[in-house]
């Protein structure tokens, strides 16, 4: 019998707590041995989705299919799934070895086997020799490793990770990202990873599922999500962007910022209003004049690899990256290649200038970091639309 490609299918999942709906119309599949990330701001329902897969939450509607069979009525302790909790949830009264052995002891495994597995796991997470240590005496990063070992020792088909690196400092986080990714490849286990950090998601995932307000916004490979965001929310959440209103004049012909551009998109209605996304690194700074967009440099910030420039053009402030420095006040031209103009259909997110401030703060990022700035998009819109 050939293996099914989909290991887990979530079918029409809806979840309500009291009167509030936290998940609606969730349909997603997880392939065998894939690293899938649920990405979104706090409160978007990503953790609830994970808890539904783990069996800690029962969906109000819909079904959870595991390897072709519904596991909706299966309690957590009967699922072939293990979880790494956000705050580790290590058993404080047990030492490292006892924590790791817990699952095997429950299954009444042979004590020599348990001993061997503990050593294997400690080696896997780089904690050899820590077996007798109390978990409360370990650092956050070490506790994290114990939590991963405690879950992996049970040889689950799927490992669920709920923002496992959230409490670690930046350097440790980067290291753990690589380690986790390597571990996943080495063990050939399906990982379902929850995070609000878009960079983390882009670095580690095979597939990203961007969520907001309990709804899946886009699912795809990291490159697809980054290069072809399906709506303004995804575009804003995933990176720094210039987002403008535009009008699709015809196939391969779009008007925005008061100019007509050749693009690679087609299939829109004639004169359909659309959202235009242009990444800062996709804008080429050239000499003013000619057919290029004319603008004035308002601000230059050195960012290490490149300079970040704010360029005002026809009432809209563009963010552009360039390795060549320009002076503030200098007149420049901007050129955008046709395949770097991303045209998206209008969505419910088209009319928000920025993510709600509270949401952004809770996600631990400022608006500036996310590439959302408060310059009036509306100004650009009025100049762009007819």
């Amino acid at each position: 019998m050939n293996e099914r490609e989909h290991l887990i299918d979530l079918v029409d999942i809806e979840k309500t707590f009291g009167t509030s709906t936290v998940l609606s119309n969730i349909n997603l599949f997880i392939r065998r041995n894939e690293f899938l990330t649920l990405l979104g701001p706090s409160g978007c329902g990503k953790t609830t989705t994970l808890r539904i897969i783990g069996g800690f939450e029962r969906p109000t509607r819909g079904d959870v299919i595991f390897d072709g069979k519904s596991i909706l009525n299966l309690p957590p302790y009967k699922r072939q799934v293990n979880t790494v909790f956000q705050k580790y949830a290590l058993f404080p009264n047990m030492n490292v070895a006892e924590n790791i052995a817990f699952g095997l002891k429950i299954k009444k495994a042979d004590s020599r086997y348990i001993k061997r597995r503990i050593e294997e796991m400690l080696k896997l997470v780089n904690l050899s020799g820590y077996d007798k240590r109390q978990v409360t005496s370990l650092s956050g990063g070490q506790q994290q490793r114990v939590a991963i070992a405690r879950a992996l020792v049970n040889e689950p088909s799927v490992l669920l990770l709920d923002e496992p690196l959230g409490a670690l400092d930046l350097k440790l986080r980067k290291e753990m990202q690589m380690e986790l990714k390597n571990m996943q490849k080495k063990l050939g286990i399906t990982f379902i990873y929850v995070t609000h950090d878009q960079e983390e998601a882009l670095t580690m995932s095979d597939t990203i599922c961007v969520m907001n307000a309990g709804v899946i916004q886009q699912m795809g490979r990291p490159e697809d999500i980054y290069n072809e965001p399906q709506n303004v929310f995804v575009a804003k959440f995933i990176g720094e962007n210039n987002i403008l209103d535009g009008v699709m004049r015809d196939d391969f012909w779009v008007e925005f910022a008061g100019k007509n551009f050749v693009c690679v998109d087609k299939g829109f209605a004639r004169d359909e209003a659309v959202d235009i996304v242009i990444r800062p690194e996709d804008i080429a700074i050239v000499a003013p004049g000619g057919d290029n967009l004319a603008g004035v440099v308002r601000n230059v910030t050195f960012k290490g690899v490149h300079y970040e420039m704010l360029i005002e053009s026809a009432g809209f402030v563009w963010k552009a990256h360039s390795t060549v420095m320009s002076q503030s006040g200098q007149e420049v031209g901007m050129r955008i290649a046709p395949d770097l103009i991303h045209v998206m259909r209008k969505s419910e997110y088209s009319f928000i200038d920025a993510l709600p401030e509270t949401l952004v703060e809770r996600a631990g990022l400022s608006n500036a970091e996310r590439g959302v700035y408060t310059m009036p998009v509306g100004v650009a819109a009025s100049s762009a639309t007819h």
């Binding site: 783990g54 069996g55 800690f56 309690p75 957590p76 302790y77 799934v81 293990n82 979880t83 909790f85 956000q86 705050k87 949830a89 290590l90 058993f91 404080p92 009264n93 030492n95 817990f102 699952g103 429950i106 299954k107 077996d131 007798k132 240590r133 109390q134 409360t136 005496s137 405690r150 879950a151 049970n154």
Partner: protein, 272 residues
């Protein structure tokens, strides 16, 4: 200057609180029967106390009552705390309020209402009388809230993911509770049990109302002895009880689970 005043204030406070007990303890060693004249040092009253059969009986009743009622209250109270912890909303608030009532209610109301209840029930079960059984039920009843109140905060502190982690690793809900949750709240349960034991030792009013004719606890026997006339044996008995309760409180307060655990951890590290 202010520091000195502070110290004096504290000294006066402690004097007011402990002077009566100090006098009582001093006079338990008084050779004279008088409460105003010092007749020299003696251990006579303690010796008499040890020979007094009724006091010995009362002592054993008191201790077994305290132990059994604390045990029962701990089992019932700990289970109740776990139940209350998992409740939500208005129902939880109501149950908590009802739980707290016996703690704030005056003992006399508690004692009287229990007596009324028992007399009513005896009407249906004519064979049963006031006695050790009713004492045990009464003490267990007023002890339960103390156990609940000491276990609940510990449950609130507990990371809810701990229990979920146990389920995740293959525990059934019952196994998960005994293997993980119970381990974590043991210190609070022990504190609650010791508190219940102390409350039972300490009680007079409820015991007075619900005891049978033949049974006496230490507090009720002291009361009946004091009514018959002053006997310095009472001083000796009270002094012993004071010291016993003091020791018990000291044990409860020094029972710090985090310290115990640290010692354990160090021991294990020494092994490796």
């Amino acid at each position: 200057m202010i520091r000195l005043l502070k110290k004096i204030y504290l000294a006066v406070m402690l004097l007011f609180m402990y002077a009566p007990i100090a006098v009582l303890i001093v006079y338990s060693f008084n050779a004279s029967r008088s409460r105003s004249v010092w007749g020299g040092f003696t251990l006579d009253w303690y010796a008499q106390l040890l020979r007094d059969k009724s006091i010995q009986r009362a002592l054993s009743t008191t201790l077994s009552l305290a132990f059994l009622s604390a045990l029962l209250a701990t089992i019932i109270g700990a289970a109740a705390a776990v139940g209350i912890h998992s409740m939500r909303g208005a129902f939880k608030k109501t149950v908590l309020a009802v739980t707290n009532i016996p703690v704030i209610m005056p003992d006399i109301v508690m004692g009287l209402s229990l007596l009324v209840l028992y007399t009513y029930l005896f009407h249906f079960f004519p064979g049963i009388k006031l006695g050790y059984g009713t004492l045990l039920v009464s003490h267990t009843t007023f002890n339960i809230p103390y156990v609940i109140l000491s276990v609940l905060p510990k449950l609130k502190q507990l990371d809810p993911n701990l229990y979920e982690a146990a389920l995740d690793l293959g525990c059934t809900p019952i196994k998960g509770f005994f293997k993980v949750v119970l381990q974590e709240i043991t210190s609070a349960i022990v504190t609650g049990a010791m508190l219940a034991f102390t409350m039972s030792l300490d009680d007079f009013i409820v015991s007075y109302f619900t005891k049978g004719d033949g049974d006496n606890t230490l507090s009720t026997i002291i009361y009946s002895m004091a009514r018959r006339g002053v006997n310095p044996k009472i001083n000796a008995l009270s002094a012993i009880m004071f010291v016993a309760v003091l020791l018990l409180l000291y044990v409860i307060n020094s029972f710090d689970p985090s310290k115990a655990q640290k010692a354990n951890g160090l021991g294990l590290e020494g092994e490796s």
